[in-house]
């Protein structure tokens, strides 16, 4: 499996050299497969002011199997449940071995701007989203203020 660790090393190197705007992903100390991720909420979303932490784990079969990703920050979002698990097609059946950590994180960020209440993971949130979207968005803003870290202004500037 030397080819796989070669791929992981290369991915880490590329993430370091050419980071994704608004996202920091770093392997944790001595485990090359376990990443700590900090993600800024997308500008045009109720999560805009927050910085969210996630954990990302590359299973042994990676990249043939998708990475396992989970929000550690409490989220109010129809496709993210209480445990931070994410409902996203590319993390399940639509996974392709040619996708990378970078593309996965970008997709998750995109999911924050475009919640999909028709394919819910958190049913109560999805229900709220469908019946009273305005209120749902307000709650999401509240939760972001309550649970997420504030985006560091310098980061925000970098993002734009």
């Amino acid at each position: 499996m030397s080819m796989v660790s070669k791929r992981i090393l290369k991915e880490v190197e590329r993430l370091r050299q050419d980071p994704v705007p608004g996202i920091v992903a770093e392997p944790i100390e001595d485990n090359i497969r376990y990443f700590s991720v900090r993600m800024n909420g997308p500008n045009d979303s109720p999560y805009a002011d927050g910085c969210f932490t996630l954990e990302l784990y590359l299973p042994d079969e990676y990249p043939m199997q998708p990475p396992k990703v989970r929000f550690l920050t409490k989220m109010y979002h129809p496709n993210i449940d209480k445990l931070g698990r994410i409902c996203l097609d590319i993390l399940k059946d639509k996974w392709s071995p040619a996708l990378q950590i970078r593309t996965v994180l970008l997709s998750i960020q995109a999911l924050l701007s475009a919640p999909n209440p028709d394919d819910p993971l958190a049913n109560d949130v999805a229900e709220q989203w469908k019946t009273d979207e305005k209120r749902a968005i307000e709650t999401a803003i509240q939760w972001t203020a309550m649970y997420a870290e504030r985006v560091v202004p310098s980061d925000a500037a970098k993002r734009e």
Binding site: M64, S96, P97
Partner: protein
């Protein structure tokens, strides 16, 4: 004659007019049925091959390598309830798939591998595919991710610019394969990818590894990548066959553990209430093609299902509770009275009451044996109690007998061993040959069949509405049951070996009689199902 292997050829062989004339009747029958065809020609070929087998007096079910079995003799005098079927091994199933691809290829005018992929995407529903394809070929192709004429795949190298998106390997040394969609990956990543997909169980619809690319990997590129990986290729093929059998309504896997044969049977699903399509796999397993349960002749699938459900759930437990217990009138504790007088004291709440009228004991005073005051409410309870009791008794009646025959069938193995010992004893004592004593073993075989059938007659009996037809049915049943018991007795204790000829004659006569009783019962029951003569409770 090895039919499994030559089916493809058979179809061509029998395509001449003469043969079609002979079998036109059967073909019509299958055209009329609501069965989604596995390809009309396929059935035609099957029927023709099968009928040909009968005509030529050939061994229908067995290949040349099978042991001599009485099956062929039985098949010559077919019973009305018997159905046509055939066991296919993996190779024959592959032949079937190829045949269907060959049939469709000229019509769709796409390459052979693309025809194969289209059929798989449509789960071998030829008609739907043809309909959709003729209406809008481009839509079908883009929806399924199939290209009409993909180039023959090849493994290449020597491209400086090549970089594998999976392992990030790059350079002129890397060997890679590209598909018609333009995505290229190195061969070792392809192999890992295919290995994982095949191990997970999908073989038939593996997409290109590129994100969101729908192009399907057909057999050609898969075989090219897996050249040399025999184990994985075998798994790939068996997965293909598995998906084929799963999609075809006329095919089913033999349910015996680790048996690799699939049975083809042309009984339409709609006819399951009136037929009991018992098939016999080459591995020796007999089962019902309709519900995959062990041979349950003469009971139809629907009743078998109801009976099994009834035996599993505990509706009868609640009947028992209802029939044999009463609730304490004060605290509702369930009480079973197993001895003593009618003066009850509840163990939970110490309430004193009368078991007969359920009233408080204090009211009984001196006249407690004359508790005969009529109470409508209690009467109501009593009726429901006696109803429940009657229902339970009825169920127990049938279940006891059903269970008894099931147990006896399990003892049949012991009886067989005992009989074989008996046979050896006879051979030694009387210096007889094996042929002279084999009648005992044959009798045990007949007994086993009878027990199995009798078992299921009690399920039929349980659900049958009481009418004149049921009386006739039960007469047949009791005739067979009596004869079976007599034969069992004879076989279990053949008596003094001095009169071997006498015993042999008796057993042979009795076996013959029992067999004919079994025949009558099964045939009549089957015909009753066909004619809708039996009325079953809902």
């Amino acid at each position: 004659m090895a039919f499994c292997l030559s089916d493809g050829l058979m179809q061509v062989d029998y395509d001449d007019d003469e043969e079609e004339f002979v079998y036109s009747e059967e073909e019509e029958e299958y055209c009329d049925s609501a069965q989604p065809p596995l390809g009309a020609t396929l059935m035609q070929a099957q029927k023709q091959a099968d009928s040909a087998a009968y005509e030529e007096g050939d061994d229908y079910f067995l290949d040349d390598d099978e042991d001599e079995q009485p099956t062929s003799a039985i098949q010559l005098e077919r019973k009305p309830w018997e159905v046509d079927f055939k066991a296919h091994d993996l190779e024959a199933l592959q032949g079937r798939q190829e045949e269907m691809v060959t049939d469709l290829e000229p019509l769709l005018a796409v390459s052979r591998s693309s025809t194969d992929l289209l059929l798989r995407s449509y789960q071998w529903k030829t008609e739907t595919l043809v309909e959709d394809y003729l209406a809008d070929p481009d839509k079908v192709l883009s929806k399924t991710g199939v290209h009409a004429h993909p180039p023959v795949p090849s493994i290449e190298s020597g491209d400086e610019e090549f970089a594998c998106e999976i392992c990030y390997g790059s350079g002129a040394d890397e060997q890679y394969m590209g598909l018609v969609c333009g995505h290229r990956f190195c061969t070792s990543c392809y192999e890992t990818y295919l290995t994982i997909k095949i191990t997970e169980g999908d073989s038939w619809l593996i997409p290109c590894p590129a994100p969101k690319c729908k192009t399907l990997l057909g057999e050609e590129p898969t075989r090219l990548i897996l050249t040399g990986n025999k184990e994985m290729l075998a798994k790939y093929e068996s997965n293909l066959a598995r998906s084929f059998v799963k999609s075809a309504t006329t095919l089913a896997w033999c349910p015996a553990p680790s048996c690799e044969y699939a049975i083809e049977c042309l009984v339409p699903r709609s006819g399951m209430d009136t037929t009991i399509p018992i098939v016999h796999c080459k591995c020796g397993k007999s089962f019902c093609f309709g519900c995959k349960v062990d041979n349950h002749i003469p009971a139809p699938c629907s009743l078998v299902k109801r009976w099994q459900k009834k035996c599993e759930d505990d509706s009868e437990t609640s009947h028992w509770i209802k029939a044999n217990t009463k609730d304490c009138p004060k605290c509702n504790t369930v009480i079973e009275k197993n001895r003593g007088c009618n003066h009850m004291t509840c163990r939970e709440c110490h309430h004193h009451f009368c078991w007969v009228c359920m009233g408080p004991w204090s009211e009984h005073g001196q006249a407690y044996y004359a508790c005969n005051k009529y109470n409508e409410a209690t009467e109501g309870v009593n009726t429901s109690v006696s109803d429940a009791r009657a229902q339970l008794e009825r169920y127990m009646h049938y279940f006891t007998r059903y269970n008894n025959h099931e147990q006896s069938a399990k003892f049949a193995q012991n009886l067989l061993e005992a009989t074989e010992a008996n046979m050896e004893q006879l051979q030694r004592d009387m210096s007889l040959s094996w042929i002279d004593v084999v009648f005992l073993k044959n009798a045990v075989d007949v007994l086993t069949d009878c027990r199995a059938a009798l078992k299921w007659t009690y399920v039929l009996g349980y659900y049958m509405v009481s009418d004149n037809q049921k009386v006739l049915f039960e007469n047949n049943q009791s005739d067979l049951e009596m004869a079976t018991e007599q034969l069992t007795e004879l076989v279990e204790d053949p008596g003094d070996s001095s009169g071997i000829e006498d015993i042999k004659r008796k057993v042979l006569d009795m076996s013959h009689y029992v067999k004919s009783r079994l025949d009558i019962l099964v045939t009549d029951t089957y015909q009753g199902l066909q004619e809708n003569r039996w009325r079953f409770e809902d």
